[in-house]
């Protein structure tokens, strides 16, 4: 590279346009003013841009030149040092490519991809990962390890961009290539298990998107694929999660039986892993399915389990949820006193959590349960006529401004 530097110095004699720089740099300052996002960013001076490009070309790197030229059109913020690194790496990548050493070209491109870490340079990273993939595809010496890795990286890029389908494409290639291989990443993680995990992630995201579009059939397909991938990855935790999500999808189509099957898978795994949070969620989901099937007693059982586990793991939010659900079920079964009790508990927890929305909901539910329980007693008294009953009602009427229903009950007992 030193020859390049000295060579360009001699070339300045033949570059009479050098003093065009002054108006150019002025316009760059204006541009910085117009663009308030990166006020500190300085545009590369025109002369430096030209020098960097021209140096590449005169040393005989036309592809590197074309890339550099195209990059500098978009890439405004750069310091000479980084430009120099970019220049060198592009040149050595091209040399490697010309001599058919695609492994080296891949390494150079990957270096550049990791070199650009700033969030505004993300597109540069993407660009170089794509180049790395191209080199890796041509490199056959390592039976596809580099190609697999490049596919993983590019999949991540697309995932970041939110292009799920394209991410899926590359992850699938990654999966196929790592199938039956014992490749590991530097941290000792198996590539194939990683591929399963990434695929699981993408399938889940796709499924969630389909759920939002209310396309349940396809969503279930996606969640099923995600579940299979989670099973293959050997990570039991994510297997449980995937089963839970699949169950939820079945639940929203109304297939409670299948839903329950997957919830119990999740439940089993959570019990083995002693994951209280996951176990609680499974209990809750099963209870919900049972409730929609009309099996209220069983549903209550599961909800009580849910409440218990939430209490023991000190998850107040879940406990409050459990109480609310229990209250709801009891009021469905017209056991308003019990319902009131649960709602009251939910209210207290919500107060502790300082969650106004939940607090208000619990308060209203508790109130209405209370009222309904009083209505029951009142109706009973009205329906069976008798002097005693009328008297009871009258005495209650006189005293009701006091405590809530205690007098009435006392009267009734009497």
């Amino acid at each position: 590279m030193s020859s390049a530097v000295s060579g360009s110095r001699t070339s300045d004699i033949y570059s009479p346009h050098k003093h065009r720089l002054t108006p150019m740099s002025k316009s760059s300052a204006e541009r910085v003013k117009e663009d308030p996002v990166h006020p500190a960013a300085e545009r590369v001076p025109e002369a430096l841009r030209q020098k960097v490009c021209v140096d590449l070309l005169r040393e005989g790197f036309p592809r590197a030149f074309a890339q550099m030229f195209a990059l500098l059109r978009r890439w405004d913020a750069a310091d000479p040092l980084r430009l120099h690194t970019l220049q060198q790496r592009l040149a050595s990548a091209e040399t490697a490519e010309t001599h058919g050493q695609y492994g080296e070209a891949y390494d150079n491109h990957m270096f550049l991809a990791r070199f650009f870490t700033e969030p505004e340079d993300k597109w540069l990273k993407h660009h170089f990962i794509e180049l790395a993939l191209h080199s890796a595809r041509k490199f056959k010496m390592d039976s596809g390890k580099r190609e697999a890795e490049a596919n993983l990286h590019i999949g991540q890029v697309y995932l970041e961009k939110g292009q799920l389908e394209r991410a899926l494409e590359h992850y699938e290639v990654f999966y196929q290539l790592t199938m039956g291989r014992t490749w590991q990443d530097p941290s000792g993680r198996m590539h194939h298990s990683r591929s399963c995990e990434e695929l699981q992630k993408v399938f889940t995201l796709l499924g969630q998107r389909l759920l939002q579009e209310q396309d349940y059939t396809h969503a279930i397909k996606m969640f099923n694929k995600a579940y299979q991938m989670a099973k293959e990855s050997g990570d039991r935790g994510s297997e449980g999660e995937a089963a839970y999500r699949l169950g939820l999808a079945y639940q929203s189509t109304g297939d409670q039986k299948t839903a329950k099957q997957f919830f119990s898978v999740c439940m089993e795994i959570a019990t083995i892993l002693e994951n209280a949070d996951s176990l609680g969620r499974a209990y809750e989901a099963i209870a919900k399915s049972l409730e929609s099937e009309g099996k209220l007693t069983e549903a209550t059982e599961y909800l009580e389990k849910f409440a218990e586990i939430s209490l023991s793991s000190k998850q107040d939010r879940n406990l409050e949820k459990a109480c609310m659900c229990l209250g709801n079920i009891l009021s469905l079964r017209k056991q308003y006193d019990g319902a009131h009790e649960h709602f009251g508990r939910a209210y207290e927890i919500a107060c502790n959590l300082e969650s106004v929305v939940r607090l208000q909901k619990a308060r209203v539910c508790a109130g209405s349960a209370r009222a309904l329980s009083m209505m029951q007693t009142y109706h009973k008294l009205i329906e069976t006529p008798g002097r005693q009953n009328i008297k009871t009602i009258i005495s209650w009427k006189k005293m009701r401004h006091g405590s809530l229903s205690a007098p009435l009950e006392e009267e009734m007992k009497r």
Binding site: T10, Y14, Q50, C53, V54, P62
Partner: protein, 353 residues
Amino acid sequence: MSANITPLANPKGVKKLCELCQKPAKLQCTRCLVTFYCNSDHQQTDWTSIHGKVCSLLVSIHTPAPFGTLQSDREHHHKETLKKQKHLVEIAHLESQRWVSKKRFQDVLPAALLFLRWATRVHGSSAVELVPAYLLLAQANIGLGSLSQAHEYLSKAEWTVMKTPGCSHTVLHQLHRTLGRLHAAMGKYTSALTHFANDVYYASEMFGLGSTVTSGGYFLMADVFLKQNKPDIAQSLYTEVANSWHTHLCKLMDGISQSSTHPEKCFDEAQCVEADQMLGCILEFEEQCVKPRPEQSAMLAHSLAMLWLLCNNYTKALEYGKKAEVLIQGLREQNRLRESIHNLLQYAGKQLE
């Protein structure tokens, strides 16, 4: 066509000089009466190069102003003359360019000199409009081997560019290309490469990376690299050139097949010959390579076929099309290229019937 004149018989203080060599003139063009030569050889040369096309225009430019009483009449006449002069400059520019493309450098000189003389008269002696004339003259001189003469013209061009702030990238690109040619001819390969690289840079700024104008610079660089005995670099440069031309020609072909009308003239004859020489040279290089790349050769043959088709030379188009077809047969996946070669052969065959 020519009449003898005797220098001694000229009015006092008036010197008639030869149009080409500035020696005392002995002949006069009888059509325009304003052009003089020292001998009939010079007259003949000037006639073929440029005078035949501008003789009548010169007459009308030299017509003396009619006796106008009104200011507006005089202004009108002045404007008309200026317009004619600009037209003359334009013709001379195009003609000299055409001779350069045909590589008939001897014929460039009279036209380019006329171009320079009239451009100076219209735009002044230090205008940037003179640069193309200097460059053409330099290129002709490089072609003729008189490098010091070329260097002189190029120095003038450089000086003019230096005096013009905010000079357009087109001019800079042309300047560097000619400078590169000069240095290459002088055997100074390193500085030639620097100039060509600058040329490519400005051309990319102006016309885009993949344009055929830019690829001209790549081609010249490849030539220098070959002289430096670096065939692999030359090959990668040739690949760039071949790709740009192939894309460009395919685009033009698409235009034809979509409009299904008779192809407009996309190139003139000289440009066509120039492109043919360039692509032919690359094709030859590819075929002589140690590691032949049939897909590259097929692409080049396809480009040549398209080029001749676009110039309405269907026989040559067929010839290269068949060559491309042969080259592509040994290859597996090249379906799109195969399809377009097939279409081209059909089209050319139909036109020949």
